[in-house]
Structures are given as C-alpha cells and as structure tokens.
C-alpha cells in the first residue's frame, strides 16, 4: 500500500485500516478458487441450461439460434408419441417409489438404533458398507447372485433359491422386463437405506430424553412413541430425505445401466439421465447434442419443480416449530 493512500491513523482513503485491507486480500485469495470454480462449472452451465431448450442449432449458419418453444414442444411431444422416449421418461420416475419405500424402512431401523437394539454398534458399521462401495460393484455382486443363464450353465445361488421357493425367475432377461424391474427395485431397497439410517438415528438421539420419559409415563408404547413423538420431531431431517428422494429422478441411470448394459428394445430399461449420458458419449461436441441434453433435463425439471414445491410446503406445514 502506498503512503499517499494511507492517512496518519493508518486508515486507507476508502476507510479501510491496513489490517482490514490485508484481511480482505487474504479472504479474496481463499475464495478465488472455489468461487471461480462455482462461476465456471456451476453457474454458467445452469444459466445456459435455462436458455438452450428455447434454441435450435442452425446447420447452415453454423450457430445456435432462438427457436421459442418449438424445440421444447417437439421433445415433450416425443414423450407421448415415441415409445423409446416415453419409456425413458417414465422409467426415470421409477426412482420415486423406490425411495418412498426406503424412507419408512430407514425410519424404523434408525428408531431401533436409537433404542439401542441388541448388536446396534456392529449393525451401524455393517449397514454403512453399501454406501461406501461403488454402485457398479454392488450391482454386479447382486446381479451375479441372481444370474440365471441356462445356455451358459449358470445359475447363481440367489436364482437357485428363487427357483426352490417356486418363483419362476428368468434371470436378467429383456423378454421379462417387469420381472427385471421388480428385481431392480429389490436391489435399490436392499442397498439404499444405509446412510439414511445413520442420520435418522442420530436425529432421533438428539430428542431430549425427558420428553420421551414423560410420554412413557403417560403410557406411550413402542410404536406410538415412534409415530407420535419421534417422527414429528425429526421432520426437518425427514423432509430433507424426501426432497432428495424426489431429486433422484434426475440421476437414476447407473443401476439399470449396470444391470442390463443396454437400454433394451424400445428403451424398456432406458431413463432420461441415461439417454443424456449416451448423447454426450456419442457426440458430446455437437451443439445440437448440447441442446438435446438440456431440453431433456429441462423437461424433467418442469415436471419435478411443482412436486418439490408442493412436497416442501406439506412437510413444512406438518413440521412442529421445534428444533433439537
């Protein structure tokens, strides 16, 4: 700092002390990388993403031009008119019921943990393991347990068990999509609730013991305590899980992709996020790919946003005004 900018009290002409100025330079240098990263890789793509669905690529001019709602309406129309797009769109929503099955299971398991179920400490560690193993690896472990390929003399132990109990399991066979999807649901539930459990049980443990004790003295039983006391008091945590569950629709691709490896006839196992991934993998540098991917994402967001807003409003309304 030059002397001309500093008065006798050490104050900068713009009112900053030398210490304050140094501090601001330090803060700026700390935030330089994270904020630049956010501006370039988060803000710019997301702002562009709001504009691109309303454009089209002019091959003759070689540039992206404004197209109003034309592109968006064409792509949205395909959801109803083209079987492959329709399947991809509706399969993305399969993530929703899966997560809504996982949530109550997580709450019950988390409640049992907060009640110190016998073996709680070891269960906490074991149940966490699915969340540290890659989805690809875990899906493959599950897949080969239930492998059934008579042509290759292969029947995994899970498939053998299913056949023993009388279930006509055909393996990961594209000719039986409903059976395969059911198995994918089972996998998602089997592997999906572990992280929720840890957070839910810790939220439950923060509830003051005096509150629980007084409820017990009033005759509250095991399940009543969960339903009437614990769940309402951990609603903020639960509402975060619910919103996250809805958001899963935008990233549901790796599980069906690893199980089936191809999208199947008429995209019977396809999802919108998987479709976007394939677009980018096949021709990522083509501007029309960029527009197509943005439009697919935009369609999903148009459908998701009202659901998120309504869900948030409902969970806020039923959440008591307390926090622990």
């Amino acid at each position: 700092m030059t002397n001309s900018l500093v008065n006798k009290t050490g104050k900068h002409k713009n009112g900053m002390t030398r210490r304050h100025r140094k501090q601001m330079i330090f803060i700026f240098s700390l935030m330089l990388f994270p904020i630049s990263q956010w501006l370039i890789f988060w803000l710019y793509p997301n702002v562009t993403n709001l504009v691109l669905p309303f454009t089209t690529y002019d091959f003759f001019e070689g540039k992206i031009v404004f197209a109003g709602f034309e592109n968006l309406l064409t792509e949205f129309g395909k959801v109803f008119s083209t079987p492959a797009t329709r399947n991809a769109f509706f399969n993305s929503w399969r993530a929703l019921p899966i997560n809504f099955i996982i949530l109550p299971i997580s709450v019950i398991v988390g409640y049992a943990f907060s009640k110190h179920v016998p073996g709680e400490r070891i269960f906490r560690i074991l149940f966490f393991i699915p969340s540290i193993i890659s989805t690809v690896t875990l899906v493959l472990c599950f897949k080969y347990i239930f492998e059934y390929a008579p042509s290759a003399d292969l029947t995994g132990p899970g498939a053998q068990l299913l056949h023993k109990i009388g279930i006509d399991w055909h393996g990961w066979n594209m000719e039986y999509p409903q059976q395969v999807w059911t198995m994918i649901y089972i996998y998602c539930i089997w592997a999906g609730f572990s992280v929720n459990v840890i957070m839910i049980s810790s939220a439950m443990q923060r509830i003051p013991e005096a509150l629980i004790e007084s409820a017990k003295l009033d005759g509250t039983g095991f399940w009543r305590e969960l339903w009437s006391i614990r769940i309402p008091l951990i609603m903020p945590t639960i509402s975060v899980f619910i919103i996250n569950s809805i958001m899963c629709v935008t990233s549901f691709f790796l599980v069906p992709m690893t199980f089936m490896t191809t999208k199947g006839p008429e995209g019977i196992f396809d999802t919108f996020p998987w479709l976007m991934l394939r677009h980018v993998e096949e021709n990522g540098l083509d501007p029309s790919t960029m527009i197509a991917v943005s439009t697919l994402g935009f369609i999903l967001m148009i459908c998701l946003t009202p659901i998120i807003i309504v869900t948030k409003a409902i969970t806020d309304k039923i959440t008591p005004d307390v926090s622990f």
Binding site: P34, L277, L300
Partner: protein, 289 residues
C-alpha cells in the same frame, strides 16, 4: 396403592414388549447383514476358483487359485486403471478439502460484508435442483482444453461447496480464536495461521472428509467415463469387464470377480480402519451452527 401397582405393572409390561420387539428387529437386522456380506464373500470366493469349477462344480469344494488375479494383471490394463483411480482419488479429495476449507474459513472465521451472500451461494448448490447440464459442461471442458486430462476431472470435482462446506463451516465457526491471536502477536501472517494453527484444530473432521472424498472418487463412474475417456479408472474398467464377461459363457466370470474384489478390498480396509471418524462425519444432521 392398588392404582400405583397397576401402573407399575403396565410400565413393566411395556418395557418387556419393547425388549421383545427389539430382539425380533435384531434378528431381522442380522439376516439383512448376512445378505449384505454373502454376495461379497461369494464374489471373492469365486474369484479364486477356476472358471470351469465356477460353472460346473459350483457347490463343490475345489482347489483355489490366484491365476484369475495374475491373468487380470497380465491381460488387461489393470495396473493403469488402479493407478488412474488412485491418483484421481488422492488428488481430487485433496483439492476438494482445500477448496472447502478455504471457503469455510473465509466465511466462518471473519466478519465481513458479503460473507452471508457467499454462505448462501455455498449451500444453495445443495438445494437448487439441476438437470441437463452435462452437455454444456462437456463442451466447456473441451473449450478449456481440460477434456481427457486428469486435472480437468480434478478441477471439475473440487467445488468446495454443498454439504462438505456446511460441515466445515460449523467446525471453523467453533474453533477458538485464542491460538490464532497468540500467533498473530508473534508475527504469524494470515496464511500461516490458517494452515498451521487453525486448520490442524479441524484435523479429525478434515481427515474423515478426505477419506469420504477419496472413497467417492474411487467409486465414481460417470465423471471419469465422460471426461477422461482415454484413461480408464477401476470403476469404468469393472463395468466394461462385466459387459465382456457375459460373452464368455460363464468361465470368464471368476476373472471379472477378481476385478470386482480389487475394487472393493481397498475401500473396505480404509473404511474399517477409519470407520469411527467416517461415521461421525456421516451423522451430519447432528451438526448445527
């Protein structure tokens, strides 16, 4: 007196019912835990068997072999894939921690106009739903000449915001300024105080977050697959092995199982070694400002 006895009996009855329910749940949890481990043990066991034994003598005890592992390293670029995963996981998680700690320290430890705006920005990435930016980011990475470079994936993944930021923000907020003030009197500058006095006090959280970041990067499939196409990582490689194994008629599966085991074992060891710290971090919801 009679009334009190009845109430005591009813409380005892409820306690007994609760115990029974918890024991039943414990049994169910044990069964679930078995289902978690069985597939991994089955995969590992079959990774040390001959292909023909796996197909034709599935339930018979047969000699074990490490040939699947040896062949895997001989016939496939396994070493390169492991190294790619390792380098990417170490560098990315370190960058992530540094970016997050910098952002958290800047907004939590100092009072300055605008800090709340940046706090809001940092947590907003968790709540603003986004979808469809993949094509734009791909094009951007290409324009910045970061496509197919390790450093590109590292920069893309090191945002220093979201949930990790929220965790570190509360940690930095609660660090007492006493030591830093003493160091300042001794002439230590801002960077020195940040790196040698303040950040070590957040050490346990930082280590746990680094490990979680490492695990996340090691397991990541999408980013390396799209943005690092010429440098396959283990997660991408295992996926590709799985598509090829199905064409071998079953005898090639044990080699695939060896690749799966290689991708699981380091993570399991890391988790078991640091499970206490990782679990504490994962409680997440328990941390409040």
């Amino acid at each position: 007196m009679g009334k009190i006895n009845t109430k005591e009996q009813s409380i005892k009855k409820r306690i007994n019912t609760e115990k029974i329910i918890l024991i039943v749940l414990s049994v169910l949890f044990s069964l679930y835990a078995i289902t978690l481990f069985f597939p991994m043990l089955w995969i590992f066991y079959n990774s040390v068997r001959h292909g023909s034994d796996f197909v034709f003598r599935q339930w018979q005890v047969t000699p074990l072999t490490i040939s699947n592992y040896v062949n895997l390293f001989k016939e496939t670029p396994m070493v390169t894939m492991v190294l790619n995963s390792l380098v990417l996981a170490i560098v990315t998680s370190t960058f992530q921690i540094f970016a997050t700690a910098s952002m958290a320290h800047a907004t939590a430890s100092f009072r300055w106009r605008g800090s709340s705006v940046f706090y809001f920005i940092a947590i907003s990435v968790m709540f603003i739903p986004t979808s469809g930016t993949l094509g734009i980011v791909y094009r951007l990475m290409s324009d910045l000449n970061l496509l197919d470079l390790h450093i590109g994936v590292v920069i893309l993944a090191s945002n220093g915001m979201g949930f990790s930021y929220l965790m570190l923000y509360s940690v930095y907020k609660n660090i007492s300024p006493t030591y830093a003030e003493a160091a300042e009197i001794d002439g230590a500058g801002y960077w020195r105080r940040f790196l040698t006095i303040i950040t070590p006090q957040a050490g346990a959280t930082l280590i746990a977050m680094w490990i979680l970041g490492f695990i996340g990067c090691w397991n990541d499939y999408a980013f390396p697959k799209i943005f690092l196409p010429s440098h396959k990582t283990l997660a991408v490689g295992v996926y590709e092995f799985s598509t090829k194994a199905s064409q071998t008629g079953g005898t090639g599966y044990p080699q695939l199982f060896a690749a799966i085991s290689i991708s699981i074992i380091p993570i399991l060891i890391l988790f078991l070694a640091f499970q206490k710290q990782i679990m504490t971090i994962s409680v997440g919801g328990g941390i409040k400002e």
